[in-house]
Every structure is written in structure tokens, then in C-alpha cells.
Subunit: 485 residues, 2 copies
């Protein structure tokens, strides 16, 4: 392990977090939140110089080659450290009195999960709420760059993330390309955030609410500065704007890159995108019909508005809510439950298993059925009109198995606290899947405050595992990772 090289990169992270904390510090100053100003400036004054110091001291390592092993360690440590550091303002300001809770909330932010331990959100200082939402936005940005720009290893759009957020054989060799693609992606991410903010303000939100909700949307995070989430607003405009931007945030960002560079045809043949939009459309319609038949809403328009919002929110793993869907009829809830397994597209800010993996396994299963009838024929599996290699299928199979395994282990850990099956299982689904709210004890009107500290720490790990595509974190627990080469 090249720990000094890893430290070198983490030092940049440290300084960057310090820099970004200047924004909420400014907000604290603006609103006269003195305690919060201190709680932000103290870390800022520590992080930036220490970050720069370590960076300079370890600079001699910058040209060393990073192995996959170093990459896994770096990516995991990035989320662990970012959460540990990002939690400080919550803790120091007294907004979240327990460090366990503050860490959970920050990990939930940086992993774009949106599970919250806060019981009363609206009473908190502006600067704290802003930082909370900003962790989403920064986490989302990190994920997009990691998955789309750094690791286009496996050739199929978005599938690069399957080899984990691990650097390729050598990071520095692709640095020029990273810088180039990363710039584009940040531009797209920033552009969409600004656009959504403007549209939300046009619908009557103030700048603060519009910005924080846009952070939560584009990162598919789900933190809202309102106790009742987006349900605080009863404007169809606001609901639809957020619905549409959640769907956009759940798309593979490589598609936007292709659009901007004029490759429209390769966007249109994207198998994953088509499946994703199909799932979104069908699930929204099914829930609308179920809601109308049960008289939950009066008209088709209103029903569709609430159904589409909730489907987009769960499918993209955002976790906003416009109403308490836990009170919806059984059939509607089951559709949402199914959506919790799916997730966004690969290369988006969404979590979950990801549409492309489900599509691949679905196609594989259909092929196996076909081979029962034509046992001597060979059928290739295609995505985006290209044949999928067998190695990739193994990677996907392993991923989905480990994902389900992680779900079941998390369920067991949560249940050890004495909670019922549905609460335990849905807690696992929405933390590993980076969604946020689930059913029962963790329903959309509930929060995570009541869990025992041990379970909160485990759930922080679960959120990180899900966010970093399981492999990245699990590999650290294998003997091979620690073996001397």
C-alpha cells in the first residue's frame, strides 16, 4: 500500500472540504449565527493549512503509480474521512449533540442517501441546513466523476463502474483525460443544478430553499430543509420540476456528455436509458391507477403528480416525499418496494443495484430460457447493440449477489436491535440502496434517531458500501487485500 500517495490525495480532499465550508460559514455570518460561524471556521482554519501542509510534504509521491489496491483504499478512506470531517460543524455547533448522529448524518449526506437522524429540521440554523444539503451535492459530484470520468474501463457506457470506483492500472496516465472529462461533467452537474434552482424559484421558492432542494435532487440525496420534505409545498409546478430533475439525475451522465458532443444516435440506442424510462413510466402509471381506485386522490392529474414524484424519488434513490406514502394502498406500496431494488442508471448520482445490471441479468435469464429450447445454439447477450463479454456478466452476477448478501446482513444487524421484519428489511434496502426513507419505523415521516449507536455506525458503513458499489468496501475485508504482494 502506498500510504503516502493516498495521504497526498486525501490532503487535497481535506483542503477542498475546508474550502467548501467557507460557504456555510458565510451564510452563518449573513444570518448572524455566531455559534455556527465558529463551528465552521474552526475546521476551515484547521483543514486548509493542514491539508496544504500534508500535500506539500507528500508531494514527492505524486508521480508514483497507483495500484487497484491503493485505489480501493483511497476511495473508501475518502468517504470515511470526508464524513468524519464534515460532521464536525454539526457537532461543534451543537445542532447535532451526538457525534455518532453527526457522523451518520454526514455519511448519509456524502453518500447521497438522505437518511436523517434529525427530528425537527426547520428549527436548525440556515448555515447548518445549507452544509447538510451541500454534503449531498459534493458527494454526488464525487460519484459522477469517479464512475464516469475516471474508470471507463469496460467499454460499455456506464458499466465502467462495475470494476468498482477503483482507479485503473495507473491513475496518473489518465490524468489529462480526467481533467478534461471532469470539467465537462461538473459543468453539466452545475448547469442542471442552476437550472433547477431557477425553475424552483420561478415556482415560488426562495433562493435558499431552491438551492438546497436542487442539491438534494441532482445528487439524488433527499435532504430537505423542511420537516415534511417537498410535501411542504403544494405547488404542482414545484413537484413536477423536482420529479423531472430527479429523473434527469438518475440518468447516466455520460449521456449528457454524448449529447453535448453531438452523438445523439448513441444516446438513443442506450438500452439502460430506455429500460429506466420504461420502469419509471410503468410504475408511475400503476401507482396512479391504484391510488385513484382507492380514492386517495380525486383526479388523474393529481394522482399522477404524486405517483410520478414518489416513483422518481425512490427509483432514483433520492428519497424526497410529497406525502406519507406509507399510508398508501398495499399495491402502491409494493410497487415502491420493488423500485427500492432497482436504483438509477450506472454513471448517475443514483444508488441501488442500477438499471443496467438488472437489464443484463434479465437478458441473461431470457437467453437461458431460450437455450432450453435450442440447446445447441449460441446466443449473444447485447447491450447498446454490443455483445456483453462473459467476464462482465460474472462481475455483475457477483455484484448482485453481494448486494443482496449485504442487504440480508444489514437486515440482521438492524433486527438485532429488536425491530420488526419490515422495518429492518426496508432499513437495509434504503441504506445500502442510498434511498433514505423506507417503510414502517423508517417511513417517510419518520427518522433514524431512535436506532442504537451501534446500529447507526453499522448503517453508516452500509450506506458507504452501497454508494461505493459494494466491491470497493468489501474487498478491504478480504485476506488478499492485506497480503504482501
Amino acid at each position: 500500500m502506498k500510504m503516502k500517495l493516498i495521504l497526498h490525495v486525501l490532503a487535497i480532499l481535506l483542503a477542498v472540504i475546508g474550502l467548501f465550508m467557507l460557504i456555510p460559514a458565510g451564510i452563518a455570518l449573513f444570518y448572524g449565527e455566531t455559534e455556527c460561524f465558529k463551528a465552521f471556521m474552526l475546521p476551515v482554519l484547521g483543514f486548509i493549512p493542514v491539508g496544504i501542509g500534508i500535500y506539500l510534504l507528500t508531494r514527492s509521491n505524486r508521480n508514483r503509480t497507483m495500484s487497484p489496491r491503493d485505489g480501493f483504499m483511497l476511495v473508501s478512506l475518502s468517504w470515511i474521512c470526508a464524513s468524519a470531517l464534515g460532521a464536525l460543524p454539526f457537532y461543534l455547533s451543537g445542532a447535532i449533540p451526538s457525534y455518532t448522529d453527526a457522523y451518520f448524518e454526514t455519511m448519509s449526506g456524502f453518500t447521497t442517501t438522505g437518511a436523517s437522524i434529525l427530528t425537527a429540521i426547520e428549527g436548525l440554523p440556515y448555515s447548518i441546513l445549507f452544509w447538510r444539503s451541500l454534503t449531498h451535492w459534493l458527494g454526488g459530484m464525487g460519484i459522477v466523476v469517479l464512475t464516469v470520468a475516471i474508470f471507463p474501463l469496460l467499454g460499455i457506457g456506464g458499466l465502467q463502474l462495475l470494476k468498482a470506483e477503483a482507479p485503473g492500472p495507473s491513475v496518473d496516465k489518465i490524468t489529462p483525460k480526467i481533467a478534461h472529462t471532469a470539467k465537462y461533467l461538473w459543468f453539466i452537474y452545475l448547469g442542471l443544478t442552476v437550472l433547477e434552482t431557477i425553475l424552483l424559484m420561478f415556482g415560488g421558492m426562495n433562493l435558499f430553499d431552491a438551492l438546497t432542494h436542487s442539491f438534494g435532487t441532482m445528487a439524488t440525496g433527499g435532504f430537505s430543509p423542511k420537516n415534511t420534505s417537498v410535501g411542504f409545498y403544494d405547488s404542482p409546478w414545484i413537484h413536477w420540476v423536482i420529479t423531472i430533475f430527479m429523473v434527469l439525475a438518475g440518468l447516466n451522465f455520460a449521456l449528457y456528455f454524448k449529447l453535448l458532443t453531438g452523438r445523439i444516435k448513441s444516446v438513443l440506442i442506450d438500452t439502460e436509458m430506455k429500460a429506466y424510462l420504461l420502469i419509471f413510466g410503468l410504475a408511475s402509471l400503476a401507482i396512479t391507477v391504484s391510488l385513484l381506485r382507492n380514492g386517495v386522490f380525486d383526479g388523474f392529474g393529481e394522482g399522477l403528480q404524486y405517483a410520478a414524484f414518489q416513483v422518481a424519488s425512490i427509483l432514483t434513490t433520492t428519497g424526497y416525499a410529497t406525502t406519507d406514502y406509507d399510508l398508501w394502498p398495499a399495491f402502491s406500496k409494493i410497487i415502491l418496494f420493488l423500485m427500492m431494488f432497482v436504483g438509477g442508471c450506472a454513471g448517475s448520482t443514483g444508488g441501488g443495484i442500477k438499471v443496467v445490471r438488472i437489464v443484463t441479468l434479465f437478458k441473461l435469464s431470457v437467453r437461458e430460457l431460450k437455450m432450453l429450447i435450442y440447446p445447441r445454439s449460441v446466443f449473444h447477450l447485447r447491450l447498446n447493440k454490443m455483445v456483453v463479454k462473459k467476464d462482465i456478466i460474472s462481475v455483475i452476477t457477483g455484484f448482485v449477489f453481494l448486494y443482496i448478501f449485504s442487504l440480508l446482513v444489514t437486515t440482521t444487524v438492524v433486527a438485532s436491535g429488536g425491530y420488526d421484519i419490515l422495518s429492518s428489511f426496508s432499513t437495509a434496502l434504503v441504506t445500502v440502496g442510498n434511498i433514505g426513507p423506507g417503510f414502517n419505523l423508517v417511513g417517510p415521516t419518520m427518522n433514524y434517531a431512535f436506532f442504537q449507536p451501534g446500529i447507526k455506525w453499522f448503517l453508516s458503513l452500509a450506506m458507504m458500501m452501497g454508494r461505493l458499489e459494494i466491491y470497493t468496501v468489501l474487498v478491504l475485508f478480504t485476506p488478499w487485500f492485506w497480503k504482501k504482494l
Copy 2:
């Protein structure tokens, strides 16, 4: 499709069912259950001559070669017809007034599921209860022969069932071998049943109860002639005898065959067996500890007795209960919930995903983790010290995906009746997995009577899909199956 050849085999099934109905008919006579005697004899008098008649009329087809397609049709039709015919005595005697219910109960019997629509069992005539348990035993026998004797295609012990219960390229070519192996297997199955019956009588059961409970055990079925299932008896001897025989019934029957033919070494290296026993042991211990910590039982012995019984019952997909486990602490219930995904060994009478498939995917996932560290190396996947071929991994992956897909579809169908998530999901788990009782509305003290008729028919299909390894039934719904060759 060679419909006449299929009809030829189904005619044998018809006559055999008629013959076996003579046993409950005799019991009806013995106990003076006149109505029941008629309800059995009417089908007997129809089935046997009609069966023989069709058999003779279609006899010219008997030497034709059966294609996989014919095999799928034959296997599916066998369970559909057997249930349709086997349901008649229940219906004609008035014991189950609705034919939908009678069909559900019989399908539940022949698929060795053990889900019951009966609300009061002990009031029913002996002959009816006997037939109910006998459907388990016959179904279990059918499954063992299908999976172990007829389809040893893929080389790995028990894995033959992965290519579905489908005949190989040609049925008649392996007929001498079938006859030979089938004889052995029936002997083992019969022997274990007789042994269990004797041991249960030794523990104080009467012949009738001992026999019916042995049928339910060896078939991993779960129908009991008692309202409170095995909980009716508070004898540790009876509980332990049934626990041990459930575990034996969940083992690959090919292992007994190997034992009898002296191949002890190849039994000892069986990966699936070791994993199965390990899962059984760990889950039993975990639940025992959880039960004792929550004060549900007083001593370790008693706790282990109830825990091991329930783990064996759920893991092997039997579905007997000695207590209402739905009242157990959350952690114990979660362990049972996990067991519902697993199932018995391949080539046993147990249902579920099967241990060997889970072991294979687990090993695959571990290999993928290892390959993240050693990306340029090749690691083979081994079971029973033999390398698993890539094709088999694809078949397993497709199977598990379709299994989960079937679970989710079944959950959705059940939820459309307005039932809560846990009830709907556990109903899917315990019907597709051929277990029987689940949680909440389908808990161990509940029954399936309250479901709408449409859902009962769907669940009958779900039980059959699970029993016939998903592929066999799903392939009938593909366009390729119906295409002219």
C-alpha cells in the same frame, strides 16, 4: 409437440393416482366414512380404466424420442393434472366445498409446499387427512426421481436439476438406468419413511399420526393432521425425531445412493452438504441464543429443541411448527426469514433456491473480489473439488434471477388483494419456495383460506413454478416454446 406421447405418460399418472386413492378409500371403509369412500371410489373407478385405455390407445408412440420441449410440457402437465384429479375427493366428499380451495390444497400437497386453506383440520375424516398427507409423499417421490435419477446431465452431484426437470435428449435411451436408480431411490425414500414412522410411534404417536407426519417430513411438505401442527405434541423425542428427519429429507438423495454403494469419500467432500449442515447449525444456535436472551424458553435444551425444529422446518421448506414463531423476538424471526431464501439441497425433496446455487454464487462473488486484487490471474470455481463450467454458472445466475423475479411478481399479485407488504412478500417466499407458513397473515397459526380465488389460483401456479425449478414452467410462456421447429 408430441402430444400423443405426452398423453401416453400422463395416462400412467392417471392410473397411478387412481391406484393410490385405493388406500384412503380403504381407510374410509375402515372408519366407516361412507361419503368419503364414495368420493374416493368414484375417481378410482374413472381414473384406472380411462388411464389404461388411453395408455393402450397411445401405445404406438412409446418408442418415439422425447424432445426437451415435450419434457417441459409433460412435467408441467403432470403437476397440473395430478392436482386437478387429486382435488376431486376433497371436493366430492364435501370436506373442501370450493373446488378452487381443493385445487390449491392438492397443488400444495403435490408440490410439497404445505400451505393450507383448511381452518379446522382435526374435524376432518381420516381418509381425507390421509390423502392430504399422501399427496405430499407422492409429490416428494416424483421430485426425487425427476431430479436425481432422470437428469444427471451436468456432471455435478445434484446440479442436474438446473437444466430443469427436463428429460435429456432422449428419454427412452436412459430408461434402463432410470428404472435402476429409481428403484434405489424409492427404496431409500420408503425406508426413511418407515423408520421415521416407527420412531414416532415409539415416542407415543398412533400409527395414523406417525405415518401422516412421516409423509409430511420426508416430502418436506408440512401438512399435519393436527390444528397446531407438531406443536400438538410436547414430547422432545417427537420434536427431535422430526427435526432430524427433516434435515435428512433436505439432503441430496444421491448422497444416500452413494453411501449405499460404498462411495463414502465422495459423500464427505460434498460442498453442498457441508454448507447445508453449517447453515442449519449456525442458524439454530443463533436463534437459540436469541430465544434464551429474550426469555422465551428457560433452558438451553428446550431453546435448542424449538430453534432447531423451526430452522430445519423452514430451511428444508417443510413448514411444520412446534410453536407460533411469529411471536418470537425480531432477531429470531429475521434468521427464519433468511432461511426462507435458502431451501434444501439439490436432489432433495426440499424447495427454495437450493444450497448448491447459493454456494456457487457465493464462491463466484468471492472470486470476483479476489480478482479485483489479482486482475490478471485466473481462478477456477470449484464444487466437490471439481471445476464448475461457465455454462452452469450462467444457468444458475439465470435461475436465481428468475426466482427473485417470480418472488417479486407473486408479491405484487398478492398485494393487489390489499394485503400488507410483509404478508405479501412472505406469501411469495413460502409459496414459490414451497415452504407453507410465513409471517403475519400467513403465519404458522394462520391459513390461506382468506385469499381471493384469483390469488389462490395464482399461488397454485407459484407453488408449481417453485417446485419445478422455475425454468420448466416459465419456458412455457416464451414465444420460442410455441414456435414450429
